[in-house]
């Protein structure tokens, strides 16, 4: 049996008196798409912040491709294969679209600072390669023609897609998407679903997805975890989750009542 790419056990964190997350367990295999849903404040983003070492867990452990991530800095965790997007978009707004992606390609390039300042051949070669890689990545999101625009000037939907492209540029094994469809219209959301499938197959990555748009979650996730008040209250296939009375009460029921 293959060991999972991401193995999280008994993860928990407290903020003062608030238990934002407790006893969170998940195993994710290569090429899986897992949904993470739950009402506002359930602890979904907190899970991502723990997985990327933005927060230090109060308990539990995270193992990424067999390595314990405890004590690593954020950028080191990224380098060992986990990348994310942010619920509140965080782009390098004043830099060009292509530079946003090339920043994430940083560790893929190896030329030294001296080679850069003296403009030695390795600088030109690797810069050229990374420009090509970045354009190819942007092309996946139909954004290659926007390469030289400032990232902050893009419409909302494009900014979300650029964030995914930037995350992919770090060459992750696991991609964490925090509400990627937020603010998108239905046709953009549909397009995004196709793109997510496409990048999973193209890059062989596992994807964990936080989303409030139920059609998106039910449509592309093979497995769904439901969080409420920091606890997993249900998990299973979209079908199982949809029909689980606990979930309906905690989450879907809340929506129906609206």
């Amino acid at each position: 049996m293959m060991s999972p790419i991401l193995d999280v056990s008994h993860l928990g964190i407290d903020f003062g008196g608030l238990q934002a997350l407790d006893d969170f367990n998940i195993q994710v295999d290569a090429k899986e798409i897992v949904g993470l849903i739950g009402p506002n404040g359930a602890g979904k983003t907190t899970v991502f912040n723990l997985l990327t070492n933005v927060y230090k867990p109060s308990r539990g452990s995270i193992s990424l491709t067999g390595q314990d991530t405890r004590g690593k800095s954020i950028h080191a965790v990224t380098q060992s294969g986990i990348a994310r997007t942010f619920q509140n978009i965080r782009l390098f707004r004043d830099l060009s679209v292509i530079d946003n992606v090339k920043i994430a390609l940083h560790n893929g390039m190896k030329y030294t600072m001296a080679e850069a300042i003296l403009r030695l051949p390795r600088y030109w070669k690797q810069e050229k390669e990374s420009t090509a890689t970045a354009l190819k990545l942007l092309d996946v999101f139909n954004m290659a023609h926007l390469a030289n625009e400032p990232a902050g000037s893009l419409p909302y939907g494009s900014q979300r897609r650029l964030e995914i492209a930037r995350a992919l540029a770090t060459n992750p094994r696991v991609l964490l998407l925090d509400e990627p469809a937020a603010g998108m219209n239905p046709s953009e959301t549909q397009e995004l679903m196709d793109t997510i499938h496409h990048i999973r197959d193209m890059f062989d990555i596992a994807i964990i997805l936080i989303e409030h748009d139920m059609s998106l979650v039910m449509g592309i996730c093979e497995r769904i975890l439901v969080l409420n008040y920091g606890l997993i209250i249900a998990q299973g296939t979209p079908e199982e989750v949809r029909n689980n009375p606990v979930v309906i009460e905690a989450y879907l029921g809340q929506q129906r009542g609206e």
């Binding site: 090339k102 940083h106 600072m113 690797q126």
Partner: protein, 337 residues
């Protein structure tokens, strides 16, 4: 995208332009077109350009505000001066070597100050560098080998216009090429969004300290030039006001614009000299200018714009070609321009 040939052409273009500029400066100076006093002003213009562009790396490109740039300048100045006075080598050897050692000493201090200050998020750097600038001044004041309050005297006058010119060109070239590399993009990403930079795999602490000490290195070089221009050094030359003066140059020119730093360092060095009567009111003029620019153009005179000779010539060329077309085709496209 740029082709290799295109790039080579740009290097040639910039090299030729630099040589022409140098030729023009030397011609003006040697021919006596400007008086000796004004000619010697080119040296402060030069080291102030180095100070402003190097500070811009930290304040404009990295987005961290240091208030002790004069402190790094003083370390370079004293180190370089003490070195050239101590050793007995030909000037052509000991001066470049001294400048380099002064720069490295300043950069090392940059690392020592930067490491604790830059690990923390927030405005600690401003406070710590402010303290650092003052501490360095007091240390120099109380040491024996620095001459204490009397300062150092009899430093050889090695700083000439060509030497300064070369140092300015090296500084601008090095900072420019650094910014246009993966290391430079890492530095810019920190200014834009530190959390996103970390999440993109950038070691923000490493690149903050790198940019900061790189900036200190060139401040050290400027200090060495300064020492061998004045030939006397005193701790009073490197007070907090000097740091503020450099910062004003950077902010006026535009945080993140190399060209802005060059223009405003030149203007603010020459302006008080041109208005001789006003030289005592220099700081008042500076403050007023700063207030006015901040009100009307908060991003500085040049914002983040940077000048590129190749691009500009390309634009002029295309305007020229467009103008020519109607003559051949007989069509009028004046309404376009």
């Amino acid at each position: 995208m740029m082709t290799k040939k295109n790039v080579g052409g740009r290097y040639l273009l910039n090299t030729v332009a630099t040589c022409l500029l140098f030729g023009a400066i030397m011609l003006v100076v040697e021919s006596g077109l400007i008086n000796r006093y004004m000619a010697m002003m080119l040296i402060p213009v030069g080291y102030n350009i180095i100070l402003a562009t190097s500070l811009n790396l930290s304040a404009g490109f990295l987005g961290q505000l240091p208030l002790g740039h004069a402190g790094f300048m003083s370390i370079g100045a004293y180190t370089c001066a003490l070195f050239t006075m101590a050793v007995d080598m030909p000037a052509a050897v000991e001066f470049p070597l001294g400048l380099l050692i002064g720069g490295v000493a300043a950069a090392l201090c940059g690392v020592i100050i930067g490491l604790p200050a830059l690990r923390l998020r927030g405005d600690y750097l401003a406070i710590i560098t402010l303290g650092f600038g003052e501490i360095i001044r007091v240390i120099i004041l109380n040491l024996d080998f620095t001459g204490g309050a009397f300062g150092l005297k009899g430093i050889p006058k090695y700083t000439t216009i060509p030497v300064v010119f070369v140092c300015v060109v090296i500084t601008i070239f090095a900072i420019h090429t650094l910014i246009k590399s993966r290391h430079g993009r890492a530095i810019l990403s920190i200014r834009e969004d530190e959390i996103a930079a970390e999440a993109s795999g950038i070691s923000t602490t490493y690149y903050k300290v790198l940019a900061f000490s790189f900036s200190a290195f060139f401040a050290g070089i400027a200090g060495g030039l300064y020492a061998h221009y004045l030939s006397i050094l005193g701790p009073a030359n490197f007070g907090f006001m000097k740091s503020v003066e450099i910062l004003v140059m950077v902010v006026l020119g535009g945080l993140g614009s190399m060209m802005g730093s060059v223009v405003s360092a030149t203007a603010l060095t020459l302006l008080p000299e041109l208005l001789r009567g006003f030289s005592e009111y220099r700081m008042i003029v500076y403050s007023l200018l700063l207030v006015i620019v901040m009100i009307f153009k908060p991003s500085g005179l040049f914002g983040r714009y940077d000048f590129s000779l190749g691009d500009s010539l390309g634009k002029i060329g295309s305007i020229f070609r467009r103008k020519k077309k109607p003559e051949q085709g007989g069509e009028n496209d004046e309404s376009d321009s």
